[in-house]
């Protein structure tokens, strides 16, 4: 998803006109990995800004809208550049660690649930509407074909969603988008957590009456909505974001058949890579539109580990990925809920929601405009105090979801059990580290999802097929290497 490294004061200073700045560099050391392109998955890493001491701007005039130009621009820029670089390297590792903890927590929750609650690994025969081809076929070839078709459908859906989002944004249907997001997080916090709690109680054979359950779910949901969409203590908000990411990953693990899931992970990583590194894409249109209008792009649902209070971005709900499962669950067996946007086929809900997600996820490449826009506080939001040295790291929730999904799938389906899970876990963390490192080095927009997912997949298949027999034999004889 998106990984942001904020450097607020830099931002202000770098606002000054700077025609020499390359678009990719940002005065703001903003490392941004965005997940997925328009399709709504994946994370792109907006690299630019780490050492972009040099003015935040592209040098184009719209850049400076709303931002007071700094007085001595070039010198400030240079100095800040050096400082930025140092600070980035110094604090980069700290931020990496700060990201490790929530990602690890999310994965731990998912793996713990998978291992103990059998509901999420049972094959009930239910499928998401967008993966209609079954995988329990007679021949391997048929199964492969089905999974490829499933993955194709899913990716197409994602792309369509993103386009719709861009359209919606272009035609200024902000209320619709916001309503979508609100409803989706509502669904997630109430419905999915109800199911989760129900299954946990079933597993541990605990009796609970509906009244108590209703009270618990109600409180959980309402506090969650408040924390995510409005204000709340940072830790609580982080906890909620982790929980909903875990819930979403669990839904994915349950409803995506095996080969389809791996294929989707791979395709989404590739798509993310392409979407971020290729110059064309719906998200780019989104960014440029936002730039033209000089509006802040709605920040996506982003996990933030702010060092100080503040800022932003964590207020917008959900990623597109969060939306997707909702969509599926709605479309398939249930009737669609009250659509907040009228003219969609299946409960409208999701599409504008997804497009909002896309929209919110923002540009894959973090240009100065986008950075600035996002860092600007919209007037509707509560005022943000900015400290001088305010730094925070933000990671998009889609990343959480996909990472957890990979690890969860590995622990659910691998026969080597814990070795595979451990290997995938470490692989993803290494991918995350490398992504942030590459970001600091290249200062370019890079996707965050592909590296981690690629490592994760490689390590999963390698461990499952190569390491497991070896380690099993070693453990049998108690040989140690």
């Amino acid at each position: 998803m998106a990984v942001f490294l904020h450097h607020q004061n830099q931002q202000e200073a770098n606002r000054s006109p700077d025609s020499t700045q390359k678009p990719q560099e940002t005065g703001v050391p903003r490392v941004r990995s965005r997940g997925g392109s328009a399709a709504g998955a994946g994370a792109g890493t907006g690299g630019g800004g780490d050492s972009g001491g040099g003015g935040g701007g592209n040098g184009t005039s719209p850049e400076q809208n709303g931002q007071p130009p700094a007085a001595p621009a070039p010198r400030v820029v240079e100095r800040e550049e050096e400082e930025d670089e140092e600070l980035t390297l110094k604090y980069g590792a700290k931020h990496v660690i700060m990201l490790f903890v929530p990602v690890t927590l999310c994965m731990v929750v998912v793996v713990a649930t998978i291992k103990s609650v059998s509901f999420y690994t049972q094959n009930d025969g239910q499928r998401l509407i967008y993966t209609p081809f079954p995988e329990d076929t007679d021949t391997v070839g048929q199964r492969a074909l089905n999974s490829i078709l499933n993955a194709t459908i899913m990716i197409t859906v994602i792309i369509v969603m993103t386009l719709v989002l861009v359209m919606l944004y272009k035609y200024r249907c902000y209320k619709v988008i916001q309503g979508w997001l609100f409803l989706s997080s509502l669904l997630l916090l109430f419905f999915f957590s109800y199911i989760y709690l129900k299954e946990v109680f079933k597993t541990y054979n605990l009796a609970m009456d509906y009244v108590t359950l209703a009270i618990i779910i109600w409180n959980f949901g309402v506090v969650g909505m408040m924390c995510i969409h409005w204000k709340g203590p940072l830790r609580l908000q982080q906890a909620y974001l982790i929980m909903i990411s875990a819930l979403m990953a669990l839904v994915f693990i349950k409803y995506l058949p095996e080969w389809t899931a791996w294929l989707i992970l791979a395709v989404i990583s590739v798509y993310d890579l392409l979407a971020v590194l290729c110059p064309k894409g719906p998200l780019r249109i989104l960014v440029e539109t936002a730039q033209e209008r000089n509006e802040p792009i709605f920040p996506a649902l982003i996990y933030s580990c702010k060092m100080d209070n503040i800022l932003v971005m964590s207020h917008s709900p959900t990623r597109r990925l969060l939306f997707k499962p909702n969509w599926y669950l709605f479309s398939a067996p249930l009737a669609s809920p009250v659509p907040s946007s009228p003219s969609q086929d299946d409960g409208g809900f999701t599409q504008s929601w997804v497009s909002q997600q896309e929209h919110r996820l923002g540009p894959l490449q973090s240009t100065d405009e986008t950075r600035r826009e996002i860092q600007q506080m919209p007037s509707a939001r509560p005022p943000v105090e900015e400290d001088d040295e305010e730094r925070g790291v933000k990671l998009g929730l889609g990343d959480f979801i996909f990472y957890s999904m990979l690890v969860g799938k590995a622990s659910a389906t691998a026969s080597g059990d814990w070795n595979t899970t451990l290997a995938c876990f470490v692989a993803i963390l290494i991918g995350l580290c490398l992504t942030l490192l590459l970001l600091a080095i290249f200062k370019k927009a890079l996707p965050a999802l592909p590296i981690s997912i690629f490592f994760g997949l490689v390590f999963y298949f390698a461990t499952d097929n190569l390491v497991r027999p070896f380690m099993d034999k070693l453990a049998l004889h108690q040989f140690y290497i």
């Binding site: 140092e86 451990l422 390698a462 380690m471 034999k473 004889h477 290497i481």
Partner: protein, 225 residues
Amino acid sequence: LTLCWFFYLAIGHHIPIYTQCLILVISNKESAAQQKGLLIFGVVLSVLLQETFRFAYYKLLKKANEGLLTLSQEETMPISIRQLAYVSGLGFGFMSGAFSVVNILADSAGPGTVGIHGDSQHYFLSSAFMTMAIILLHMFWGVVFFDACEKQRWWAVGAVVISHLLVSCLTFQNPEYVASLVPTYVILFLMGVWAFYSAGGSLKNLKLCLTCKDKDLLLANHRPR
């Protein structure tokens, strides 16, 4: 920063295991006795690969550290080579131990009887002790190895490799735990003492540290630029 490196190193330890397994899988279809022979060969190869990677890590970390130092223009290194040695050893040990023992742990929580087919009753216990020894050993080996590389003492590097091989080969006798565990712990103790001395410790340091008297000594690891 330390943690960061730790993870890198942890993952790095996987690599020799993977290459090892690849080799094994390729040469797979033998009889039972040959299987065991192949396994032993695999273990030896794996140990050698691990030590090679440890050396590679040393080179890599040294370069990275120097790079970091030049970039940050600070007085002291952000992380000293000794800390790196410790972290590297810890990473290796952690991953090695985890891979060895986590499946056993998971099985130990489930229903079953230890040694029902006539194997040893002390499987879990000995596995636990062995894993602990291996983890600590990796840590000590890391410290000694890096220190020896720094001071260009190649005999020490060879000693580390040989002791690793020795410990692995001791585990070949494994249903007879006395023969494998006791020498392993002896080696562990010796390596521990060696690592302690090569990391700059001494009896005096130890006393000062334990009585919390001298804080400056604890910072002695940071080398000035």
